[in-house]
């Protein structure tokens, strides 16, 4: 187990390295260098001054050397100065956004797991009953509707027409949390509900559950001990992609609900062509996803002892 975790951590290093390299090269290939005296809209400095600047910023070096320098600094959490907030470094601008996104993401994830799990369980227990159809319906909506569509419809219906949720925006009071959390959780919730339902149905039909019933155990005990315990393990595998979905879905939700999180800032930095910030956030997302996938895989092994890590045992 420990060996497996360490191996996975070691494999992560080249993946992140390749990701960083690709990002770096792509960003450097993007048109719009400050040092192209002949380009349209070029800066008005004379070629000699530009050369001086290039030397000062290290832009006259080969791109691979620039990459190594960048990587070295990034490893020390120095991502350079924001092009947009010209006097502030990325590390001064970015950190305040992170807790907000984390808070939103965790609440959405918790809601998705609890409600989606419950919905899936109840649907499987009442197969082809009304609750089952409700589950299928919610799952269909959640899977097929993009979350910015859900966000707009949520605001329109619950805030503007029914007026059951106050007009909000920002991230100060718990009232601000309601709609963004529900919106962000709907997609993952649907996926979890579907997975839990089909996993439950698989287990309900299995031999050991029939045996448990046959030896006269109470229905409640069969469900809680025999079915649930086994049926809730396979859905763990989709938590990795789901975390990715919550993460990449958050820009839209954050924009529409005016939540000051990383996702919204990410989009703003793209529109402002703030490359150092974009680069930092891409790296942050990439590493975060890798780590979360590892955590999910390990959790899977802990939950299900039948899964063995590494080949040797």
């Amino acid at each position: 187990m420990l060996r497996y975790a360490i191996e996975r951590l070691i494999v992560m290093v080249p993946t992140v390295f390749v990701l960083a390299l690709v990002l770096f090269v792509l960003m450097r290939l993007t048109p719009g260098s400050p040092l192209q005296p002949n380009a349209a809209n070029a800066n008005p400095l004379s070629p000699e001054q530009q050369e001086l600047l290039a030397k000062e910023w290290g832009l006259d070096r080969p791109i691979l050397e620039q990459f190594v320098v960048y990587l070295d600094k990034a490893a020390h959490l120095d991502f350079g100065t924001s092009y947009y907030f010209k006097t502030r470094t990325v590390m001064e601008v970015l950190p305040p956004f992170i807790p907000v996104s984390l808070h939103l993401g965790l609440m959405a994830l918790a809601l998705a797991i609890v409600v989606g799990g419950l919905l899936g369980v109840v649907a499987a227990m009442n197969q082809n009953g009304p609750i089952d159809y409700l589950c299928t319906f919610v799952a269909m909506l959640g899977v097929s509707l993009p979350n910015f569509v859900v966000a707009i419809l949520m605001i329109w219906v619950f805030v503007l027409i029914l007026r059951v949720v106050p007009m909000t925006g920002g991230w100060q009071t718990p009232a601000d949390w309601i709609l963004p959390t529900i919106t962000l959780s709907l997609g993952p919730l649907a996926v979890i509900a579907r997975y839990v339902r089909s996993s439950m149905i698989d287990v309900i039909r299995s031999d050991y559950v029939r045996t448990a019933r046959a030896k006269g155990l109470a229905e409640r005990r069969v469900v809680l001990v025999h079915v649930l315990k086994n049926a809730l393990i396979p859905p763990l595998t989709i938590l990795g992609p789901i975390i990715a979905a919550v993460l990449t879905g958050s820009p839209f939700v954050e924009i529409i609900f005016r939540v000051p999180g990383v996702g919204r800032y990410f989009v703003e930095s793209i529109l402002a062509r703030d490359y150092p910030v974009m680069m930092a956030i891409f790296l942050f997302y990439g590493i975060f996803l890798q780590v979360m996938n590892l955590v999910v895989d390990l959790a899977y092994g802990v939950a299900d002892p039948r899964i063995r890590f590494g080949g040797a045992d």
Partner: protein, 314 residues
């Protein structure tokens, strides 16, 4: 976005349909000359599924709007009426007018054209790239397979929407760049699927028989393997289209999709979401258009999958 589609594809939650053994046998193996009856059976099963029919009708309406946009829409999409700026829905402008006096109905209708053409064209290109690539990797094996699959793995490590955003922010917005971003991020699933199919089919008896009879690799792949792998490919393509529609809408929502004044639903939603309280019609109608489109394609896709492969229903 990839995530949901993937899970939706793997997961079948529709009630099982009784299918007799003859149909099963037909669905399992396609023989030349009997293909027509497989598709006829599938069509019949599709039409029995109410949700799928609803989806089919939705898609037909959408295609109709897209094809005949210039005939149906009351105004050109970029026509500005300065006397009617930001007006509520009325008889003259059934869906209202936007902030620069353009008719929302016309823009939503033209939006169907943008949405559909972008998704269909990029799906066709993806099909032309992914199927040969996957077939090659699966049939040849060895280092070709290694190379292709490592490439797929690298792309899978990055969430596709983030990658699409990265590409668009690099290339700048515009419909040509949109195609590039969608194709670069969209070829993975189909390549993997085709490879897996070819891998399982290439050692079947009938393929061996064809090889013994002297058929070359190209002929074996095109005539013997691909026809039998058609079902999952068709299903993947049907589910791929709403994914691409979503991706286009999402990129345009952020403001890095199509170029204005070309109307895109996603862009209309993104641009107008801040005026939801004062002018609800600006964002709600394009949102509804996206929602109905996505639902139609999902219903149709679920229906096609169930119709083509009744065994998966269980």
């Amino acid at each position: 976005m990839e995530v949901y589609g993937e899970v939706a594809r793997e997961n079948v939650a529709v009630a099982a349909e009784a299918v007799d053994a003859a149909q099963l046998a037909e669905a399992a193996e396609v023989q030349p000359g009997r293909r027509a009856s497989l598709w006829r059976d599938a069509g019949r099963r599709l039409l029995r599924n109410k949700l799928a029919v609803a989806g089919l009708i939705g898609v037909c309406v959408l295609v109709f709007l897209a094809v005949f946009a210039d005939v149906i829409s009351p105004y050109p999409y970029d026509y500005q009426d300065f006397l009617h700026i930001n007006e509520e829905p009325s008889w003259q402008f059934p869906l209202g007018t936007d902030l620069v006096g353009r008719d929302m109905l016309s823009r939503v209708i033209y939006g169907a054209r943008v949405s559909l053409s972008v998704s269909l064209l990029s799906q066709i290109v993806i099909l032309c790239i992914a199927v040969p690539l996957g077939a090659l990797a699966g049939y040849r094996g060895g280092w070709v397979d290694m190379l292709v699959m490592r490439m797929v793995d690298v792309f899978y490590a990055i969430p596709s929407l983030l990658l699409a955003i990265l590409i668009m922010s690099m290339l700048g917005r515009g419909i040509e760049n949109l195609f590039i971003a969608l194709i670069v991020t969209g070829w993975l699933t189909l390549t993997r699927l085709t490879r897996a199919q070819v891998l399982t089919l290439r050692d079947k008896e009938y393929v061996k028989a064809a090889r013994t009879a002297g058929a070359g690799p190209l002929r074996i792949i095109v005539r013997h393997i691909l026809p039998n792998a058609l079902t999952p490919i068709v299903v993947a393509v049907t589910f791929g289209i709403p994914q691409l529609i979503f991706a286009e809408a999402a990129l345009s929502f952020i403001g890095i999709g199509v170029n204005p004044p070309m109307p895109s639903w996603g862009q209309m939603v993104g641009e107008h979401q801040q005026y939801l309280r004062s002018s609800w019609w600006l964002a709600v109608f394009p949102t509804a258009a996206i929602a109905l489109t996505m639902l139609s394609f999902t219903f149709l896709g679920d229906g096609i999958r169930d119709a083509l492969d009744p065994r998966m229903n269980d």
